[in-house]
């Protein structure tokens, strides 16, 4: 009984090896073929521009049929075939594609420095500097030197960035009609905010009874924007006496937690906040049960529409930067990149890819791509670009996805046309980004930091660790007395290494 089985296994393994060997030899043959095909292509390039293949992030419509694709084809003379990454787990798919050597001429992904520098260090990307020197005058003009420096890996540039276009994401959105009803002005300090929330709780201006919530937040939002700024730690890492320190190691962390925990204890922060999902918190505000919420300005149109339907008299506004007990205030301000575009080593037409990017950054083409033509897609009002709807939505809504590099001076202005699609959204955006004083915008020092191995590796896990811990502190499940223990654990879990790396770099730019 044993013998035949052994025999069968031997056969099975032999068969497997035979097929593997066959697959390998097939592989070699094909590799040789593509090589020679590439050479012949290179010879004929002068005559005809090749079709380029570009991999991009997910978009809700097909890139290939979107109006901007046609516009770019006309302006650059290149036909581009666009594929896109999935929405979910895009990084895994990208890894698969990069490691299998798919011949994409351009790859655009979200700005993930860890991923990018990993590809660069493993030699999967083409060094862009010589190509840009030769074929990219527009690229040179559009991208600032500091952006290029931040993207260098071992002294070489492998990616062209699109930078973030605005600074402040979110603040506390408060019901101004509730403020009127309780007879209090818009709060400007943390103490005033406490008083306002107390009045919201006691006077119940919304008539919600049991359901009344002064301030709602979602469960993973233990670092409340604006409030963290009032305690001098708007960003994840903040400058304390010339060194960058993560929030949980910040001397103000204790004070912030004490303040937030007190709000929670008094019932001024949503009692159920730990279980709140993003949608739950928004439901509470949109239905009129909550007097304040922490949201990104891009979420405002949906909330506003629902709130107006439910309560036609409801009005709301963002709370300006609140002053804390120590007189500090401010918002975390974005710095750095939104997306990165790179050319994999497996690309068949790297020169043409750079030529294409260069052509797309030609000022008129770039402007047309970003906001269309004046009179058709946008009009000028008070020096601002105002979109003409609905054609702007139909033909330019996804335009940002086509960009491989932006004009870093002009694009933030063009871009505001997108925010003006919704007047309430623009009002909120304008208040945070244009009306707040510059001192209230605390730039994220790490936004333009170069790749740092330890930090890239540990950051996400450490942030989750601190977030969970802070939730427990605010909700009273942990005592602040255990802070030193937690800090020791936190440092041991990788923050020590990250901190060393970050401050070595930070010292070099302080001079």
């Amino acid at each position: 009984m044993n013998k035949p089985f052994k025999l069968i296994s031997v056969f099975a393994i032999a068969a497997l090896m035979a097929t593997t060997a066959a697959a390998c030899s097939g592989n070699d043959g094909k590799g040789g073929n593509t090589g020679s095909a590439g050479e012949t292509n290179a010879g004929g390039e002068e005559a005809a521009k090749p079709e380029l293949k570009r991999l991009n992030v997910w978009a809700s419509e097909d890139y290939n049929t979107y109006p901007v694709a046609g516009l770019l084809e006309e302006a650059t003379g290149y036909k581009v075939k666009y594929d896109m990454l999935p929405q979910d787990k895009w990084a895994e798919k990208l890894n698969l594609i990069m490691s299998s050597g798919e011949p994409y001429d351009m790859v655009t992904s979200y700005s993930d420095m860890a991923l990018y520098s990993d590809y660069a260090q493993k030699g999967a990307l083409v060094d862009l500097t010589p190509l840009i020197d030769e074929f990219g005058p527009n690229i040179k003009a559009a991208i600032k030197q500091e952006s290029i420096d931040a993207l260098k890996v071992n002294g070489k540039l492998y990616a062209i960035p699109t930078t973030v276009t605005y600074e402040i994401n979110s603040s506390i959105l408060i019901r101004t009609d509730w403020l009127d009803k309780v007879g209090l002005p818009m709060p400007t300090t943390t103490d005033e905010l406490t008083a306002v929330l107390k009045a919201f709780k006691e006077k119940d201006p919304g008539g919600n009874g049991e359901r009344n919530v002064p301030l709602t937040i979602k469960g993973d939002q233990s670092m409340i924007d604006n409030l963290v700024g009032a305690f001098g730690m708007p960003n994840n890492w903040n400058d304390v006496d010339g060194k960058l320190v993560p929030r949980v190691m910040d001397p103000s962390y204790k004070d912030y937690v004490a303040y937030a925990a007190d709000l929670y204890k008094q019932g001024l922060i949503d009692r159920e906040f730990v279980a709140n999902k993003d949608a739950t918190a928004k439901e509470k505000f949109a239905s009129g049960a909550a007097g304040a919420i922490v949201v990104h300005w891009a979420d405002i149109p949906g909330i506003s529409e629902a709130l107006t339907k439910n309560l036609p008299d409801a009005t709301f506004a963002y709370v300006p930067a609140l002053k804390g007990p120590g007189g500090e205030f401010g918002f975390a301000a974005n710095a750095g990149f939104d997306r990165l575009t790179y050319i994999p080593k497996s690309a068949e037409h790297p020169e043409d890819a750079i030529k294409w990017i260069n052509a797309s950054l030609e000022p008129d083409t770039f402007r047309n791509m970003a906001i269309g033509t004046e009179g058709t897609h946008f009009k000028m009002e008070n020096g601002g670009y105002v979109p003409i709807l609905p054609i702007f939505n139909d033909e330019r809504n996804l335009a940002n996805n086509f960009m491989a590099g932006t004009d870093e001076e002009l694009y933030p202005q063009y871009w505001q046309a997108r925010v003006r699609k919704s007047p309430v959204m623009f009002e909120a955006f304008d208040f945070l980004n244009n009306e707040q004083p510059d001192e209230a915008k605390k730039a994220n020092a790490l936004g333009l930091a170069p790749y740092m191995q330890q930090y890239a590796k540990n950051n996400q896990q450490l942030e989750t660790m601190v977030g969970d811990y802070t939730v427990k502190l605010i909700a009273g499940a942990e005592s602040i007395d255990g802070l030193a223990d937690f800090q020791a654990k936190y440092m041991a879990a990788g923050a020590e290494a990250s901190s060393g790396e970050i401050n070595d770099w930070y010292a070099t730019i302080q001079k």
């Binding site: 594929d83 999935p86 798919k93 698969l96 798919e102 993973d220 239905s287 979420d299 107006t308 996804l398």
Partner: protein
């Protein structure tokens, strides 16, 4: 058997009631998604929509089913399911038939080879490389070929073939029929229930298959419905907002649109079930009783 007493009726009634309630409870999430798809967006955002729709409207559903990408994905899914199911049935039956003949030389070895693939596979990366070397990346073949024969289904069909009386074939042979004629004119027509069941297994597999297209399809125009659905539904998950720009946040499809997409893509396969259910139940019994 004694006749039912009042107590029996009461007990039966309670059991039926309980089972009905339990059955309805499983429908609740579906009812919630359905009512979201036909409610006004403001009501959804305010959390007012539970089991019943608020502010009835059909515009969202109409918007979703007229979306060109939805229609294209639907077409791809229907195509892959139809072609895949037919091809799978054909190839599986063609493989199962010779394996059902005890006089086949080396049969034990062949069966072991098949079973071997049931337990061991090359893994994702080798599979991906294989598909790539076959030139099937971004090709619908990559959705059908790897799933062409499921060994489990093969064994079910094989054991069904074995249960058919051998004398049928012998008489056909006496009449001068060759092997293929016997298979197509005699064996397959007699195998209706098992083919319908296995066909449904394959059809549901092809329809629901999400993993293969996720790996092998990059082109938007070739994405089947499940992949389209995944993209739409996951898009709103703001927990991944860290790597999203405001442009993406501004373009997140509304909750109503997502619900309507889920509904619209579930209905087609739901429609197939009632017609095949009777075979389904009959077919699953195959192999459970040897007779």
């Amino acid at each position: 058997m004694h006749s039912k007493t009042v107590k029996d009726y009461a007990l039966d009634g309670t059991i039926y009631l309980l089972l009905t309630v339990m059955g309805l409870i499983t429908l609740l999430p579906f009812a919630n998604v359905l009512s979201k798809s036909i409610s006004e967006e403001w009501a959804i955002v305010s959390g007012k929509v539970g089991i019943f729709p608020v502010g009835f409207q059909l515009d969202t559903l109409a918007f979703v089913v007229t979306n060109s990408q939805f229609l294209r994905s639907l077409w791809i899914s229907v195509l892959v399911t139809a072609v895949g199911t037919l091809a799978s049935l054909l190839v599986t039956a063609l493989t199962a038939y010779p394996l059902s003949k005890r006089e086949l030389p080396g049969m034990g070895f062949l069966i072991v080879l098949f079973i071997f693939t049931m337990m061991f596979s090359g893994g994702i990366i080798p599979n991906y490389l294989l598909i790539r070397e076959l030139g099937l990346i971004n090709h619908l073949g990559s959705l059908i070929l790897p799933a062409l024969v499921s060994v489990f289904n093969l064994l079910v069909i094989k054991s069904y073939f074995e249960s058919l009386p051998a004398s049928l074939e012998e008489s056909a042979k006496i009449e001068g029929a060759r092997n293929l004629t016997i298979l197509f004119r005699i064996i397959l027509p007699l195998s209706g229930p098992v083919l319908a069941t296995i066909g449904l297994f394959y059809a549901v597999y092809y329809w629901n298959d999400y993993f293969n297209p996720m790996l092998y399809i990059n082109s938007t125009s070739l994405k089947p419905l499940q992949l389209y659905l995944q993209d739409i539904v996951m898009n709103a998950d703001t927990s991944s907002a860290i790597d999203k720009s405001a442009d993406d946040l501004m373009n997140v499809p509304a909750e109503g649109v997502r619900s309507a997409t889920v509904i619209a893509s579930t209905i087609p396969i739901l429609l197939v079930y009632p017609f095949l259910q009777k075979y389904f139940i009959k077919g699953v019994l195959i192999g459970s009783v040897k007779g």
